[in-house]
Symmetry: C3
């Protein structure tokens, strides 16, 4: 049996029984996926996925980083190079390499997600290995050509009530337009991720500003025109369902400069005249500006700070971004957020969802902040920590200070479409296990645990993201 019905529940029988009862009540709830990186083209064009390697291995940096760490070359996994140099083209060869290294994922969430997908979508009962690699390949490859494996059919099978993708302000949202015009009923919304026009260190920042002006018809060479461009583009995104913005800065730093200082800073970063610290200060100021706009237009802000992107210089030069070489670093929130909080911390029409890759901040900073400021909520365990132990630590380190109701349920944050049900299932099971432990140690009544299980699996995400 590839997946066990009691997986991730406590081993102790009394707690396991409670977990089973809680899970039974929520396992079939629809999926709210308020933050993620699936490709809207899938839903727009509804074309079949190509083959097992192209679906599972080549786009998934969780998978290929692990193989790379154990000596497998990225070229041998079909990862395209920037200069178009030769890489493996045979999907079956790639799949075999992946299968031969499947033991590397023991104890990782990748393994849990894959097994869940293999079992529930393709009916496998035997663990993937070098021996059965071809059998796996053949069955998946065949399935992908069937209509029920097209993106929209899967969307319905997954019981997705709403899913958000993430786009840059420079994106024309044409896939979202196609979805709308298609008459298909799936709810796919966009989210506003302005990093390319907000982060002076972003590749092509100055050209991006220019294009931003063209797209919006605003004079993005001036501070006021630039801000106006954001306002217009946020409104355009809202036409395509956007209820949130997202900000992936290296730090959580915010600033609240005078108008004159902000204008001067914008002039420097937009004309290539930036001094040391200007890029960081501009990003910081823009978080506060985005908050100001959210107070006006009601969009929920998400802050995803603290990733040192593209840490491996050679891999970045050869393969580009998102190659599994983004490494978390220490992240301060208490000092960093103060300028934004001083201005907007007590607003009633603002919601800021904080994420972290520095787990030390859970109990020391994030839970105390969210347990006080009305605008702050905590996003779920993110990225490397979106895994059973990571989720358990998140609850153990935040609940006693911030409670459950300053958190926002789960989001899968994934570009791996087929893993979405597995990821939500893991989150639901881990939360049921956590609640079961509270019940069995008499810290919570079981009727409350049922209500909480529902809230954590469904209601909180829906409400926090206004979906």
């Amino acid at each position: 049996m590839l997946i066990h019905p009691d997986r991730l529940f406590p081993a102790e029988p009394a707690a396991r029984d409670v977990a089973r009862r809680l899970y039974e009540g929520i396992k079939d709830l629809p999926i709210i996926s308020p933050h993620g990186h699936t490709d809207p083209r899938w839903y727009a064009e509804n074309e079949p996925f190509l083959d097992p390697a192209t679906l599972f291995v080549i786009p998934d940096h969780y998978i290929f980083r692990m193989l790379y760490s154990q000596g497998v070359r990225l070229e041998d996994l079909g990862i395209p190079t920037k200069d178009g140099g030769a890489v493996e083209k045979d999907p079956r060869a790639i799949w075999r390499r992946f299968a031969a290294h499947y033991h590397l994922f023991r104890g990782t969430p990748t393994r849990t997600w894959l097994d869940h997908t293999f079992a529930t979508l393709f009916g496998f009962t035997e663990r993937l290995s070098a021996d059965n690699a071809d059998a796996y390949y053949n069955r998946i490859d065949e399935a992908l050509r069937m209509p029920e494996f097209r993106p929209r059919a899967l969307f319905e099978r997954f019981r997705i009530e709403a899913i958000a993708t993430t786009e840059s302000p420079l994106d024309p949202l044409k896939h979202h337009q196609t979805i709308r015009q298609s008459g298909w009923g799936g709810r796919v919304v966009t989210a506003y991720r302005p990093d390319p026009v907000v982060d002076p260190d972003f590749d092509g920042f100055r050209e991006n500003l220019e294009r931003f002006g063209e797209i919006t018809g605003c004079d993005t060479s001036t501070w006021s025109g630039y801000l106006e461009a954001h306002r217009k583009r946020r409104a355009f995104f809202r036409e395509y369902g956007a209820t949130s913005t997202d900000h992936g800065h290296p730090t959580a730093r915010t600033a609240d400069l005078s108008r004159a200082d902000a204008e001067a800073l914008f002039r420097r970063v937009s004309t290539g005249d930036a001094g040391p610290g200007d890029a960081e200060l501009f990003r910081a100021q823009m978080l506060t500006e985005m908050a100001a706009m959210s107070v006006e237009d009601g969009m929920v802000m998400q802050i995803h700070p603290g990733s040192f992107r593209n840490h491996n210089q050679q891999i970045y030069s050869r393969f580009g971004r998102d190659m599994g070489a983004d490494i978390p670093s220490q992240t301060d929130y208490v000092g960093a957020l103060k300028p934004l909080l001083d201005r907007f911390g007590n607003e009633r029409n603002l919601s800021v969802i904080l994420f972290t890759l520095d787990e030390t901040s859970y109990s020391r900073e994030l839970a105390p902040l969210a347990g006080h400021y009305p605008i702050l909520k905590l996003g779920p365990a993110w990225w490397f920590f979106d895994a059973p132990e990571g989720m358990r630590r998140f609850r153990e380190l935040t609940t006693e200070t911030a409670g459950f109701y300053n958190t926002v349920g789960f989001n899968d944050d994934t570009r791996a479409y087929l893993s979405i049900p597995a990821r939500h299932d893991v989150a639901r099971r881990v939360d049921c296990a956590y609640l079961a432990n509270l019940v069995t140690t008499h810290r919570l009544d079981e009727d409350e645990a049922h209500e909480l299980a529902y809230d954590l699996a469904y209601r909180l995400a829906k409400e926090a993201y206004k979906l």
Copy 2:
């Protein structure tokens, strides 16, 4: 049933049985409360508490910060503003608001403490909710008018053997005088918390220095007079039972300046001529000076560093201090304490109890320091971490390096008088659960666990604080 007899014990039956046996042996031990913030006026005047809202909600920042984080205005909870602006005056309306939001405390220690108090003091068996808010209010309100709910009667009912309050050197200790003169047998002692005359950033620091001089008859405009004032005032506090001092600095930094440098620094901070860093350096120097005095007079030093006080500027301006907006921040000990340790780390007549709001320091810094320096001991899990998971982490992260005997048992650190038995009960249960796990995994013999349960519940606090 509002509280279960096995609450907080391990779910696994064998470990639960051990925990029950350990707890049985120590549950009725007297309470030693060596550090806290109850109001000595209560014991001095022994007046009845006013009403449920004034007793439970208005003074408790654990409670109102959580409601505030979820959109309830502080004014609607009766929290007085600095300018005397209108706030809710009806205690029943406040209580109803609190009851309607009681679910927010699920999974928090506040809930555990309140349920324990509601069940053991007022006989409730049903969880507080909007539906039974009035029934709760009526029963509590009635009880508070009965003689057995007056402070001294509760003191005896709670089996408090000794309790420390915390006072500023500027406090005349008149309530403590009244207690002494009253002939009542309850042991209430003060503790010396010199922040208002030691921290140049404290509101009214320079006026405080002046008053400090008047009260002590010392010339607090000179360094030597200022130090002499401390010596005299510490002696005065000892007359009212003080065995400890307490220091709530933003950091744990210490310094050991030459006399000339210290004098010059004092001159700058006391005349308003301080440069950047001077306030921090002065606080640092004063920790070392306080240690020097403790070597002479035997008072135990407590250091409670690392809270960013009054983080919410708007709330501070409108409502003042202690409004639930104090946020922990990163705290270094290894470098910060070195000047003090270089001078006094190997003394035989000095005891310094370290607390932290930065749990990362438990295993990295505090346990290794306490497991070596004779003067250092570790205070219990503090503030946000005074909760079952926080306490478990404290033991798991410190015991393997520092052992049990470099810790000092529990202190409740509370201003919520009625919660004292609940807090000590949680600590006793969590320690019994921790010990039971050691016994059940054969890391400790059960006879040792019984001895340790007694030590952690009673003996260590009594001895560490010389009570």
Copy 3:
């Protein structure tokens, strides 16, 4: 019974059963001890150990630091002072003092190791205490005079397949020569720890450089001669079995200077002309130089950063190094290692094993780095964290991101020879317990757990260290 057959296994019966089965399969595997500090003289000369106090107490800073922290003077434990001042000379008196304080070790790994040693080597069944101190002393003292308690006999009894000691480049390795020439079959290898000639802050650094030149016949007054000396000395160490180097720097900082800058820096630190930051920069540069040599000669690099050595100034002055006063401090890896990784991170013939004393880096930095870079692997829980809870945290915080196969099994890192079987046994039990929990919560199949138990107990260490 002093040690229980189920010690350290989960209390929950189903998980305990799995743990028992896993442990049964690996408990008798030979010991690979790839990193440690035992004295090669023991294996060379094979003389009996002197007496219980000289064997267990006087050389073990885990033991005497704990007694010191509770007020026992180091002099009274026979710790020699630098100036030869009077200390306790009677081993029985020392042993009695130790026995009388044995309760201090409750809950610590020292206790676990000692009980294991007392039970398995000397047949004790009763816990050490003041009462049986003499009986313990007598039986151990007697045993030490028997041939089966000589170092080589114990080596065989412990089933040590290979053990590494750690030597400075200035060490003539004569004990290793003696071992080789003796015809004894025990595999004892050295490891290259160049701190004394790499760290400008090391006592006698400039004299060390001179001796380094004499020993190697290289001109260590020049940068190129100095590097050549390292190359020659590494080759010499390899003749005595060395497969690894080890680096105990205050931080993990690396640098990759131009040749000219490196030369100038070497000139400054080697002539006593170093400016602030030069020592740190030189250590940083030397990590990268050592990596370059490892690419050539295949030696595995170990980095053990983050200890603030000799924190207690008075103890250091009176007793010297390694007196239990080394305190961990915050350690950054993400920025610190980047220069080395930029140059060598993607090499195929380089292996760098990272250790930490800052557990916050496990999930935030070390697991993500090791889960990507081919050259990086994670060493086991180190020093203060080489204990059941520390090991559990290591697995829980690293496995979900780095998997098991980017770790290197266990190493005991000890100078306490008799504790070696106990330490490996603890590691094996804790890993079996961790795996059993994964199996019982259906995150791992039991056949995989058996394979992993073998890998973690034996194979990974052997392969990672090329032993």
